[in-house]
């Protein structure tokens, strides 16, 4: 190892011996040997040992363990020839390495300013190193690419491998071994050293890059491949060296000559010129140029390399960093594994390359690609043929073709669609909706037709004798006719005339008619919209429920839709296109059409509604008291008549009629008419509401039959309701009473009444026997008080009479009291006792000492509070207390090793 003092010396020596530049390398070696330390000396010695015999070398090499034999054998032949050069190349290598290190290591800084070093180097020792580095500058390299340096490099390589310069080989070997163990990306120290070494090879920048690339690849391809690759590289190198060795013999002499001529060139510097004080930059520049030339020529005068130890330190530092970095990548993996709740199962389920690929635990599904064997291939072929191909064909994308037959992209298509949508006017959309509604209306109309047909059929049936409703139907028809006569349609001639002439102003008849019409109109509209005509119109809606409910509903729906159409008209924002003139015109036209359509439909619907109400619900309208119109007695009479028929037939309509007739009564009695048991004779065809009413009406019907008036009936209902209540409630009350009795008394089953008095007597006796005395309670209370007092906090006097003071006669009471001591004895305050509020309980507050051995003396590590710790103890582990699954989960080992090849955990990829 070179001594520390060897650092800067050589330059001084070199400078000092400026005149000796022309000497041959041996003298130079001598000079350097003087300057170097132990290691340098040894090196020089090696250089000097020209006459080393092969035998000696062999021995030497044997001492240096690992160098491969073959190489040595090869080298031995050349050794005699090389001897002269040997010292030089080695130095060159050193220099080169140094330089690169500087390039690598930041602490050395980028010494790119090769211009000024020469001047500085004159004074400072340190800069001498830079000097040597600069000797290997890029320009030089270019210049001597195929002349001198190749030999040097090769030489160096060889030297690295076969010479006693052990480290390289050693390191490589070790590196290989370690690299394998640490994974491809991990860089151990030795490797790092290697790398730094190889980084030194400026001559092979391409190769370096390659290596880097391969490294990068290695990251993907894993350990094995990288190993293989590096091996290949080694072989390549070897081959190169061999080639070079064979070629070397011829070129040797020329080299020597050349070297001599170059080295003999005198060195020129400011110092030499005696111009130390010169500050002229021009001059310096020219000098620099000169020195550059010089540098190129002075290959032999290389800088003493950094002390080995220092270098090793640097290497170690770098290596440490690298190793840290590569190990740091595993951090997440390790963390994740530590944190998993489930246990780790080896082999790990990993799908990267490596051994995990050979997972024999599962079979991969067979497909075209994986079919490896012949059998599999044939099977696949057969399946293909028979159309059972496993590989699902990729779905063909729906190709959109435009008018010209060209495929258009999805984006374009979307755009197109958007445009179309834009163009499609809102009015058109509206028209569509209207049509839809209209079609609904159409269907409705048709349904009505169907219904009429049905009625006809019924009539036919009635005619044939199945239903004898002719009379009723006749009555109904008559009613409807009267209605029609009375009805003054708004659209009718009469109405128009009335409007035109303003007859309503003076002709009272007309005015009444108009108001009537308006009223009806209003009512119809309301009914159409589903609003109750008045508060008590439930029955009305009920009525419409059975026969025309759905009809009305539909009408309402349609109307609503229409309304929505109207409302939605102007709410939408207008696009640019729409705001254009022609578009607007077209739009307006359409709108008009649409509006007309809607108006038509409205009219139709209105007339429909009227028609409906007229045809089906005429009697009801008449009977309605809510409209404030006096009912026609005639109608009532008719209704009465029809009701009689209804009684026979029990149709809903008839019932409704009665309802209307008796409305005030029923509405009053509604509350009372809770469904009584008598109701069961009513058939359940009507809805829930109507059932209630029919119950009332049926009763009325019965009442009518028997004779009594409505008032009587009302009372009757009340009485029924009232009388219906008690039978339900009284038994309950009775039962409750009984229960009370039993609660107080006894549970004896059969003869409660008999025993009750006896029991009470007994209780009294018992009371007198036990309760009166209250002995036990008093005892207990005393016990409790004692316990409370015992456990309570106490002041204990610990005074020793006479301690620290005088005793005896003549001591005043005050003095006595001054020296009294009390200590407080901890305890449980009465309020804090567990049995504080419970008179009949004494809970022992004393500690049970024997139990203490099962208590934890202190909070175990990790837990922050008692609750946390105690909580952690409460989950049982035994199979008796858990389901099988939870038991197995709880006792599952942390690491499970399954049979199979256990691959190392795959390298983290980040």
């Amino acid at each position: 190892m070179p001594g520390r003092q060897a650092h800067g010396r050589p330059l001084i020596v070199a400078n000092g011996g400026g005149g000796g530049k022309a000497k041959n390398k041996r003298s130079k070696a001598k000079a350097s040997s003087r300057a170097l330390g132990a290691y340098a000396a040894a090196q020089a010695e090696v250089g000097e040992q020209q006459k080393r015999t092969p035998r000696y070398r062999q021995l030497d090499a044997d001492l240096d363990d690992d160098a491969p034999r073959g190489k040595h054998a090869r080298d031995d032949e050349d050794d005699e020839d090389e001897d002269e050069d040997e010292a030089r190349p080695r130095k060159m290598r050193r220099g080169a390495r140094r330089k690169d290190e500087e390039g690598d290591n930041v602490e050395y800084g980028s010494d790119s300013s090769g211009n000024s070093w020469r001047v500085n180097a004159v004074d400072s020792e340190d800069d001498s190193e830079i000097d040597s580095d600069e000797a290997m500058g890029e320009s030089d390299e270019e210049r001597f690419e195929n002349f001198k340096f190749p030999t040097n490099k090769k030489k160096k390589k060889q030297a690295e491998e076969d010479d006693e310069d052990d480290e390289a080989d050693n390191d490589e070997d070790v590196g290989d071994a370690d690299g394998a163990s640490l994974g491809s990306d991990a860089i151990d120290l030795a490797d790092a050293l290697d790398m730094s070494m190889s980084d030194d090879d400026d001559d092979e920048p391409e190769e370096d890059e390659d290596e880097d690339d391969s490294d990068a690849e290695n990251e993907d391809s894993g350990d094995e491949s990288s190993d293989v690759e590096s091996d290949g590289e080694d072989h390549e190198e070897e081959a190169d060296i061999n080639a070079w060795v064979s070629q070397f013999a011829g070129a040797k002499d020329a080299d020597e000559d050349e070297a001599q001529t170059i080295t003999s060139k005198p060195k020129l510097g400011l110092k030499e010129l005696g111009l130390l004080g010169v500050k002229d930059s021009e001059l310096k520049k020219s000098l620099k140029l000169m020195s550059k030339d010089e540098r190129a020529t002075k290959k032999q005068k290389l800088e003493v390399p950094l002390a080995r130890r220092a270098q090793a330190k640097l290497d170690r530092e770098v290596a440490y960093e690298k190793t840290n970095e590569s190990l740091g990548r595993w951090l997440e993996t390790v963390k994740a594994m530590r944190r998993t709740d489930t246990s780790l199962v080896f082999p790990l389920p990993q799908h990267e390359t490596g051994l995990a690929r050979h997972d024999n635990s599962e079979l991969t599904p067979l497909n075209q690609k994986t079919a490896g064997t012949e059998l599999e291939n044939t099977i696949m072929a057969i399946m293909e043929e028979s159309g059972l191909s496993l590989s699902a064909e990729p779905k063909k994308k729906a190709v959109v073709v435009d008018e010209e037959g060209q495929t258009i992209s999805r984006k374009a298509m979307l755009q197109e669609k958007r445009r179309e949508r834009e163009l499609q006017s809102r009015e058109e959309a509206r028209a569509k909706r209207i049509k839809k509604i209209k079609s609904k209306a159409y269907h409705r109309v048709h349904r009505k037709q169907r219904e009429r047909d049905e009625i006809k059929e019924r009539e036919i049936m009635a005619a044939s004798g199945e239903i004898d409703s002719e009379e009723e139907r006749e009555a109904l028809d008559r009613q409807r006719a009267m209605e029609r006569m009375g009805a003054r349609h708004r659209e009718s001639k009469w109405a128009k005339q009335a409007n035109k002439n303003g007859r309503a102003a003076w002709d009272e008849d007309v005015r009444v008619g108009v108001t009537e019409m308006a009223r009806r109109d209003e009512e119809l509209r309301r009914r159409i919209e589903g609003k109750a005509a008045n508060k008590g119109s439930d029955d009305e809606s009920d009525v419409s429920d059975d026969s025309t409910g759905s009809d009305v509903d539909e009408r309402i729906k349609i109307l609503r839709e229409l309304k929505r159409l109207d409302a939605a008209e102007d709410s939408e924002p207008k696009s640019k296109l729409m705001s254009m003139e022609f578009m607007r015109k077209a739009e307006a036209r359409r709108k008009q059409e649409n509006d007309e359509l809607i108006a038509d439909m409205r009219r139709e619907l209105a007339s429909d509604a009227e028609d409906l109400s007229e045809s089906d619900h005429g009697p009801e309208d008449i009977g309605r008291r809510t409209f404030g119109q006096p009912t026609d007695p005639k109608h009532a009479l008719k209704a009465g008549k029809s009701s009689k028929k209804a009684k026979a037939e029990k149709t809903d309509q008839a019932q409704v009629d009665i309802n209307n007739l008796q409305e005030p009564i029923t509405s009053r009695s509604k509350v009372l008419s809770a469904p009584a048991p008598q109701d069961h004779d009513i058939n359940g065809t009507a809805g829930a509401w109507s059932q209630q009413k029919t119950s009332g009406s049926s009763r009325k019907q019965r009442g009518k039959k028997t004779g009594p008036s409505a008032d009587v009936l009302e009372i009757d209902i009340n009485s029924v309701a009232v009388s219906a209540q008690p039978p339900a409630s009284t038994p309950a009350k009775v039962k409750a009473q009984k229960k009370d009795n039993t609660a107080q008394a006894e549970y004896s089953s059969d003869d409660e009444e008999q025993h009750m008095p006896v029991q009470f007597r007994e209780q009294e006796l018992i009371e007198r026997a036990f309760g009166g005395l209250d002995v036990f309670e008093a005892e207990f209370q005393a016990e409790k008080d004692a316990a409370v007092a015992e456990d309570d906090e106490k002041m204990v006097e610990t005074t020793l009479p006479g301690w620290g003071s005088w005793v005896g006669e003549g001591v005043t009471k005050r003095e006595k009291n001054q020296r009294r001591f009390f200590t407080k004895k901890e305890g449980v305050k009465p309020e804090a006792r567990k049995d504080f509020k419970n008179d009949r309980v004494i809970i022992n507050e004393k500690r049970v000492k024997k139990n203490d051995k099962y208590l934890a003396s202190q909070l175990p590590h990790q837990y922050e509070s008692r609750a946390q710790y105690e909580r952690s103890l409460r989950l049982p582990m035994g199979p008796e207390f858990l389901t099988k699954q939870s038991f197995q989960d709880a006792t599952k080992p942390r690491v499970i090793i399954k049979q199979g090849i256990i691959a190392p955990i795959s390298k983290p990829t980040h």
């Binding site: 029991q759 036990f770 207990f780 049970v848 990790q862 103890l873 989950l875 008796e880 389901t883």
Partner: protein, 547 residues
């Protein structure tokens, strides 16, 4: 309500924006927690330490999982239980007679109702074995019989010409005797004198006796040691019962008190709890096992029913020690027993009544039951003892004319845990389970009101502990300790050193021991030397090799 800025304050905000399945899940979790949960969860969100937080969160999820799994496992319980139910309001279940029940049930079940007429040897006490298979009868006048009651097979029968007070091990007039299955006397426990009540704690292998002197004695039947002897200081006791949840023994006394004991109690410190239950002597007590599926995994003695001489029957909540309800009996009830599913049988006078729903587990407020579930008796046979047969719908009644077994629908637990008690076990299984239960034997000191106290933190302050420590005790002398045991070739010292050297811990004790070791060696060497010298004689001794 509207605030001045126009915002409306909603009193009861609708927060149930939870989807249905989620609600369902929560409900399930809640139920599982109620039935199988193990205490309140700790708040893990406030924990600062990351690792601890993670660990505790994992733990909480384990708790939850376990509860949910247990709840899910309920579907494996095939047996369903049902009671007699009246069809109309007028019908009463207590009017149903035993022969009616017997007619309407399956033959196998009907056979479980029988009467043994043994009217000569006085009122009988009895007990079933834990798996409900065997029955032991003891007549007051010395008749003892053990039988497999289902098969009607008599195991043994013999006559001791003494008063038999209690059973199991049999408390006779003076001593307690233990017999084996064939009626051979195995042990005579002569430390237990004049015993009137016996109780056996199966998990602790403790036989509890309560004698006329009022001494409560715990005897470990696996080792034969008398664990503790406590004087109740209340004279002859009236009753004894155990809580199956925590193995605490309840002794009823003539002053109306019930006292709760554990073997760790002492007569100076008194019982764990004293209750004033009745105004007269406490005739009988029974503690429920807890009904429902959970009892398969853990008993939970929540309620106690006690009867007193004051003609009262009290239902207690023994977690809070509060009276739930009080009932009257027409005569002082001599015996009370609670079945697996919470039906309470009360024997009073010549009658026995069965009550259903005296307590319900999750009810916020216990209802007072108005009428009994079933009744039996009234035929002049004075009831001495009632006891439920485990895992069966059968109630045994011991009276002065023998023994009666009656059927009470819905009393037994339909789903048995055969790992706990197996009525169908073979001899081998029984032997195995005996060994297993011996291995799992609990220590007597583990009995406390809260059986989960084990491992909890000792909350005494250091001051308190210091005060309780015996400061006057002699400091332990290492030398004496080691020397004392130093006998034989492989001495305690050598063994100690061998073990300590491996550990390489140097402390005061170690130094002392080393010194002792050296001393010993020295002595040995000198001894040898002397022997050698003695061999060589005084003249040649000077030439002896010195080492």
């Amino acid at each position: 309500m509207e605030t001045n800025n126009g915002a409306r304050v909603v009193d009861e905000a609708r927060t149930s924006l939870i989807p249905k399945h989620d609600r369902e899940k929560r409900r399930r979790e809640k139920e599982a927690q109620r039935d199988y949960g193990r205490g309140r969860r700790v708040n893990t969100k406030t924990i600062k330490d990351k690792k601890l937080r993670r660990n505790l969160q994992a733990l909480e999820s384990k708790y939850k999982e376990a509860a949910l799994k247990a709840k899910d496992a309920e579907i494996l319980l095939e047996g369903t239980s049902g009671y007699l139910e009246p069809e109309t309001e007028l019908e009463r279940t207590y009017k149903v007679r035993q022969d009616e029940i017997q007619d309407s049930v399956a033959i196998a079940t009907a056979q479980k109702r029988f009467d043994l007429t043994l009217n000569e040897l006085g009122p009988y006490v009895f007990d079933y074995s834990r798996n409900g298979r065997d029955l032991l009868l003891g007549g007051r006048k010395g008749h003892i019989a053990s039988m497999d009651w289902r098969q009607g097979k008599l195991n043994c029968e013999f006559q001791v010409n003494e008063i038999v007070r209690d059973y199991m091990a049999i408390a006779q007039k003076k001593n307690v005797y233990i017999y084996d299955g064939a009626g051979v006397e195995l042990h005579c426990l002569n430390q237990h004198r004049e015993v009137s009540h016996l109780e056996f704690l199966p998990y602790h292998f403790l036989l509890v006796t309560l004698g006329a002197s009022g001494h409560l004695k715990y005897q470990d039947v696996s080792t034969g040691q008398l664990v503790s002897e406590i004087a109740t200081k209340l004279g002859p006791p009236a009753s004894l019962a155990q809580n199956p949840y925590n193995a605490v023994c309840f002794s009823g006394h003539n002053n109306g008190q019930i006292q709760l004991w554990s073997p760790s109690c002492s007569s100076s410190n008194g019982p764990l709890v004293k209750l004033l239950a009745h105004k007269g002597p406490v005739r009988s007590m029974s503690i429920d096992r807890g009904s429902g599926m959970q009892m398969l995994t853990k008993a939970e003695g929540r309620y106690m029913v006690s009867t007193g001489q004051d003609c009262k029957m009290a239902v207690w909540d023994i977690r809070q020690f509060r009276v739930v309800n009080e009932y009257f009996t027409r005569q002082p009830a001599s015996s009370v027993a609670i079945s697996d599913r919470g039906i309470t049988a009360v024997g009073w006078g010549t009658r026995t009544t069965m009550w259903q729903g005296l307590f319900t587990k999750h009810a916020a407020e216990q209802t007072k039951v108005q009428s009994p579930y079933l009744t039996w008796g009234g035929e002049g046979r004075r009831v001495e003892r009632v006891k439920w047969c485990p895992l069966e719908d059968v109630l045994g009644i011991g009276h002065d004319e023998g023994f009666s077994s009656i059927i009470v629908p819905g009393a037994g637990e339909p789903n048995m845990d055969v790992t706990e008690v197996n009525p169908f076990e073979t001899v081998k299984e029984r032997q195995d389970s005996e060994v297993r239960s011996l291995l799992n034997k609990l220590q007597p000191e583990m009995i406390a009101l809260d059986p989960t106290f084990i491992g909890n933190l000792d909350l005494r302050s250091e001051e308190q502990r210091q005060a309780e420590r015996d400061l006057d005790a002699k400091p332990v002398d290492v030398e004496a300790e080691i020397r004392k045991k130093a006998r034989g070739k492989n001495s305690a010292l050598r063994r100690y050193l061998r073990k300590q050297r491996a550990k390489n811990i140097i402390d005061e004790k170690r130094l002392k021991v080393d010194e002792m070791w050296k001393e010993q060696q020295q002595q040995q060497r000198e001894q040898q030397k002397k022997e050698k010298e003695a061999d060589l004689g005084p003249a040649l001794a000077r030439f002896a090799k010195k080492d």
